[in-house]
């Protein structure tokens, strides 16, 4: 069977990039919303 390791690496990389990006973005939006509104 041909090597399928590349697909595994692609799946893990894509998953953690997407999850990492969402985490970064939601925290950034929250920090911005709090600083603009003064609300905690």
């Amino acid at each position: 069977m041909e090597s399928t390791t590349g697909f595994t690496v692609a799946a893990y990389t894509a998953t953690f990039i997407i999850l990492g990006f969402y985490t970064w973005r939601v925290n950034r939006l929250l920090a911005r919303a709090r600083s603009q509104s003064g609300l905690r």
């Binding site: 069977m1 697909f7 595994t8 799946a11 998953t15 997407i18 969402y22 985490t23 939601v26």
Partner: protein
């Protein structure tokens, strides 16, 4: 302590626990769990694919319960939590579909097929994207929260259909596996990843909830100032 603060503190705790759990889970998935004798290394995609669906289910279940609570009690907190649940559910729904597609190419020979499991999960994603679209279209906060809660409540019923799809229809996607038929080392790695993804989902829901709450309170203050 206010309910919002309690949710955020629990979220922080889940976030801090998720980091080592994810690191340990990835280690177990890649280096410790044995290679599948038929599929080889590509089977390791299961350790991010299946937990993505667990996190999706937790998130949509949160949205469902909070939407019903909103429809009964009309408390904004429930609307913010439902919104957070759907946002995070869409995120994990996407990673679940994406990892499934990457797994499908070397095992089925196609990136996508209109199999019942794949089609119902795509339909579920479209319905919850519709929920987010509804929220962005409606300006009146109460009408928005009410209609969104109805969409989330109805949309949630796609989840049991997705779960049962491999039993109700003949599908290319395999039916649910039992821990009894899987190597015990694989089960351990999978369970650690379940916990890690569930903790991450809880953390992200709490952060998205905090964002929804700040936006909601700001909007309410602006509307009061205009009135």
């Amino acid at each position: 302590m206010a309910q919002g603060q309690r949710i955020e503190r629990l979220g922080w705790l889940a976030g801090w626990l998720a980091v080592p759990a994810l690191g340990f889970g990835v280690y177990l998935s890649i280096f410790w769990a044995p290679e599948d004798f038929m599929m080889g290394n590509v089977q390791r995609i299961m350790y991010v694919h299946f937990p993505s669906w667990i996190a999706t289910a937790i998130s949509y279940l949160t949205a469902f319960v909070c939407s019903i609570a909103y429809l009964i009690k009309r408390r904004p907190t429930m609307d913010y939590l439902a919104h957070a649940g759907v946002s995070v559910g869409v995120l994990f729904n996407t990673t679940g579909l994406l990892t499934g597609s990457i797994w499908g190419r070397p095992t089925w020979g196609v990136w996508w097929t209109w199999d019942a499991r794949l089609t119902t999960t795509a339909l579920m994603l479209v319905i919850f994207l519709g929920y987010l679209a509804v929220r962005s279209f409606l300006e009146d906060p109460e009408a928005r929260a009410r209609i969104a809660a109805l969409v989330a409540t109805i949309g949630f019923f796609t989840l049991p259909i997705v779960y049962q799809s491999v039993k109700w229809w003949r599908t290319l996607h395999q039916p649910q596996s039992s821990p009894n038929t899987v190597d015990p080392d694989m089960v351990v790695a999978l369970r650690v990843m379940f916990v890690a993804f569930a903790l991450l989902a809880a953390y992200l829901i709490s952060r998205r909830y905090a964002l929804a709450r700040v936006e909601g309170e700001r909007e309410r203050a602006e509307l009061q100032a205009e009135a």
